[in-house]
Amino acid sequence: MLLYNVGVTMMPSESKKQSKTPTDNSNVGVFSSDEDLAAVCKRLRRDIVTMIGKAGSGHPGGSLSAVEIVVTLYWKVLHHKPADPAWPDRDRFILSKGHAAPVIYAALAECGYFPKSELDTLRKIDSHLQGHADRTSTPGVEMSSGSLGQGLSFAVGAALAGRLDSQSWHVYALLSDGECDEGQTWEAAMSAAMFKVDNLTAIVDKNSIQLSGFTKDIMNLDPLNKKFESLGWHVIEIDGHDLKQVLDALERARTVKGRPTVIIAHTVKGKGVSFMENNVDFHGKAPNPEQLEQALKELA
């Protein structure tokens, strides 16, 4: 079924032992690019609507809202090697909002983890691009998610593992605001503060819409900043589509010591496609062929 040898699916002790052979501890192969990030964002948005359109199902809204966050991470912040997904020194990126898998698939493909042509297989039988992120299927995916609220716990565990081994890599977890309805998110938030994991940065893609409506109507989360602050987190609030603000926040987060940082990124659901923006319908609906054509025109 799998076309690739997915490094991260190896069991831990195995990957540790084998890390000497397939993985390389030098910085050779670390991803870097001087490309204009705004252009990359536009390209990723095209990838996202195209793959979801071709799949005929998927979640465009929450993928499009996270584009600037994901691009800044993969292009400017994360230390990662597309040719060696299990590189031990890599920064860990945890996608907790697993339904936004298309934004990660687009980023991983653009970075070279697998050929871009694979994006056309999204959600199709035997594809390694599953409907929700799956660590056993896709090179570069750290966690299997899709059932909401589980990623921050995983990220706390990853951060603790790094700290136990005195590693300098950092853990980033991308959450949706809707999944902050889940109690586990707050169990994890409390424990991150209690354990003082300062090698962890959470980013909440606060696009203010969840499956059946606006978050303020479904289950109000505000004031979200005060909730995290009261639990002992360092909170940064930004415009999640302003590339400079996103980069500044991510860089600042890495310097905060003694407590975890959360970046509350105010975003627009469906950002970049006029008829998807702030439209609840496009939380989990694919564009039809005409809509796809229109979307690609807008993103040209």
Binding site: P12, S147, L164, S191
Partner: protein, 313 residues
């Protein structure tokens, strides 16, 4: 009378030995370390012990993040809280992701006693066995517990080990060698086979003495690895003894009875009777009283054997 030892006591001490041997062993608990006996590890390796509070979902999630990054996490709590309370986390974050997480629960079954139904896990094995890739072990005594804990630490992949609150008679000696996936013949016999797990193994042996007085010669298999089940041992028992009784401190649905029946139905059907909880919740009471009320005693096993023999052709 055999010496009685609480398996959870042995679990706690084995964890300390493993912790000394392997720096990647990390232990998590959800406000129950004085009961699960992870307290020994907490005292010996405080930096590798994580108290997560009463938050089992988060405990499982943290264990996954640790496992994905080279650690061997042992997450412990009571059986009810370590399974149904965080089942979706175990399903998606652990099992679907194929992570090397060890869930070791104590206080399973009716023998929790006075705490009553909310605390008596009788469906945990059904839940865990339903997840692809899980290794599920129910040790019969302290000797097997020590070896099973070492075996799951060495095994790569998700594991579930089910322990109880009380002391259990030691029935295996130091020459015993536990192996994942292998049933162990505790008594040879030709008329019927009793297959038992956990607390029901000692009563199964006791039942054979009662039956021997009536001229019935029973085989006893300790089926401590419930998943992957030892199909060969079951088929052999079915062929050679022609009648099977299963015995478990769990619902009839989804545990040993279901697992063994699936094997016999496919390969060699024989008359079977199941000594198990019959679609009921537990209640408060003394462990011995509860086992009697729910039909989980040596006498019940002996009666079950006689019933299968009536149906044997």
């Amino acid at each position: 009378m055999a010496e009685e030892i609480a398996p959870r006591e042995v679990y706690g001490k084995t964890l300390v030995e493993l912790g000394r041997e392997n720096p990647d062993i990390v232990v998590l608990d959800a406000d129950l370390f004085p009961s699960t006996m992870t307290r020994y590890f907490k005292d010996a390796f405080p930096e590798r012990f994580l108290e997560v509070g009463i938050a089992e979902q988060n405990m499982v999630g943290i264990a996954c993040g640790l496992a994905a990054n080279g650690k061997i996490p042992f997450a412990s709590t009571f059986a009810v809280f370590g399974t149904s309370r965080c089942f979706d986390q175990i399903r998606v974050s652990v099992a679907q992701a194929k992570l090397n997480v060890k869930i070791v629960v104590t206080h399973s079954g009716l023998t929790v006693g006075e705490d009553g139904a909310s605390h008596q896990a009788l469906e945990d094995l059904a839940l865990i066995c339903s997840l692809p890739g899980f290794t599920v072990i129910v040790p019969a005594d302290a000797v097997e517990t020590a070896q099973a804990i070492r075996a799951v630490a060495a095994h790569k992949g998700p594991c579930y080990v089910r322990l109880v609150r009380g002391k259990l008679p030691v029935i295996l000696d130091d020459s015993y060698r536990f192996e994942i996936g292998k049933a162990y013949t505790l008594r040879k016999g030709k008329d019927a086979t009793i297959m038992a797990i956990g607390t029901m193994v000692a009563p199964a042996l006791e039942a054979t003495s009662m039956l021997a007085n009536e001229g019935i010669d029973c085989r006893v298999l300790n089926m401590s690895t419930l998943k992957p089940i030892d199909e060969a041992a079951i088929i052999k028992a079915a062929q050679e003894t022609g009648a099977i009784v299963t015995a478990e401190e769990h619902q009839e649905h989804g545990g040993l009875a279901s697992t063994v029946s699936r094997v016999t139905a496919k390969h060699h059907p024989v008359p079977m009777v199941f000594v198990a909880v019959k679609d009921k919740f537990g209640m408060s009471g003394k462990p011995a009283e509860l086992l009697e009320k729910y039909g989980l005693t040596a006498k019940d096993i002996a009666e079950a054997v006689k019933e299968t023999l009536k149906r044997k052709v």
